[in-house]
Symmetry: C2
């Protein structure tokens, strides 16, 4: 008791996405009772972490990095032994590298798992024949090509939706103030779900992707299918949840459920 390692999650980005990642940590853990689950801390401080996409695209001057640094430091303060950020866009190099540099210069020792690197490794290990990886993500993630460079290191080609699809289906599904997932999460609106499904079909059929990555943590709130058009759907939050479990207690990690043929 009291010696267990603690998983740290920077949530609030958005708040429902943080809970979704936390739930996936539980789902990916072998446990048949409360005390068999892993210790975890979720910090959901949306007011301290301004929108990442708005900052990356120059639509806002509010920098999300200082708030993310404070969150990770708070996780370390309460004893978390590994940290993660429940937001793909936060992993854009212009944000993530500054986060890591700031933590290092402050003398923080907690490790931060990189969700996008984990997704690339997950595809390489579990779908070795895949070459073309379709990515559904925020404008911030797409514009900074946060997935492209990391996937290229694993010899994978990153494919984003065409600009009009990105603008009219993906961005609106996440951000629209009336029906977007950040506004309406529990449950997600039918319209947002339809937008995401159409964009996934565009990547898999029109653009020839071998898999589609839900590369924004809001998207799995709308899409729980493990396959679409007969091809795998990779939920980046689920991959991150597995990496968190593996990092503190690998023998607790459940086998992967690929959801059938």
């Amino acid at each position: 008791m009291g010696q267990a390692q603690i998983i740290g999650i920077v949530g609030g980005v958005g708040p429902h996405a943080g809970l979704d990642l936390s739930r996936k940590v539980l789902e990916q853990t072998r446990a048949t009772g409360d005390q068999e689950h892993l210790n975890m801390v979720l910090l959901s401080w949306p007011r301290d972490v301004p929108d990442r996409t708005a900052f990356l695209l120059g639509r806002s001057t509010e920098d999300p990095v200082p708030g993310m640094v404070r969150c990770v430091q708070a996780l370390e303060l309460v004893g978390a032994t590994v940290a993660s950020i429940a937001c793909n866009t936060a992993h854009a190099p212009r944000l993530f590298s500054r986060l890591i540099a700031s933590l290092q210069s402050s003398g923080n020792r907690i490790g931060v798992i990189n969700m996008i690197q984990e997704v690339a490794l997950f595809i390489r290990c579990n779908f070795p024949d895949v070459r073309r990886v379709g990515v559904l993500a925020t404008d911030g993630t797409v514009t900074t090509n946060a997935y492209g460079e990391v996937l290229a290191r694993e010899n994978l080609t990153c494919i984003y939706p065409d600009a009009q699809i990105q603008r009219e289906l993906v961005h609106t599904a996440i951000y629209d103030r009336s029906y977007g997932i950040k506004a309406v999460s529990s449950p997600v609106s039918e319209r947002a779900r339809a937008c995401v499904l159409a964009a996934a079909t565009h990547l898999l059929i029109d653009k020839g992707a071998d898999v589609v990555v839900l590369g924004c943590t809001e998207l799995p709130l709308a899409i729980s299918e493990r396959r679409l058009q007969g091809k795998p759907v990779i939920d980046a939050s689920m991959v991150l949840a597995r990496a968190l479990v593996a990092s503190v207690e690998p023998e607790k990690l459940k086998p992967i459920d690929f959801g059938g043929p």
Copy 2:
């Protein structure tokens, strides 16, 4: 930024119940975007907080209070301004009063909201004609009569299921290692849900309860209905979530949804 009050939740008791309470805090908050949500910390440390019922009934000597004290202290350490415990049984006087005393003697200043008191006030304010309150809860909550004394102060009569129903339907729905909610939460098993529904019907029909309280934070994972047999279902987690929102930013609290006639 950075000055916002922070809601603290002791989760992990059980882990899914802690997430459920956190989700209800979001659901009860007026917000149309990430940054409009309240700041929140969820500590899910199931390994530090042994089972409350097992301790109360003398089936285990592992005291859950020291772990709960450490959790509340950790919440205060990261800046939470109000704390709550996502477990009804933890509010049994033999546990809760020792938790509060321990925090006071340690010089902790954070307030801990009492879920059971909030449920009693909620019924008194919103259902003034109700007299007989049926309570579905763990054996620990029932045996220590954690609800009875608090409800009596509001001139409400607490009604528990008959012993056989409690033993064969309620306790098993929560704790059974093959189909109970603590073992199978996402989703809950059909069998567990059927047990809880039958026990609720027993309280409302056989025992003449005017409302039924889901007085264990696992139970709302099985039952989302707001009414059963035409009578209100009071979800103690939802009541606690509303009290948390009201405590830090009352103007953010959504109107109550009573779920129709």
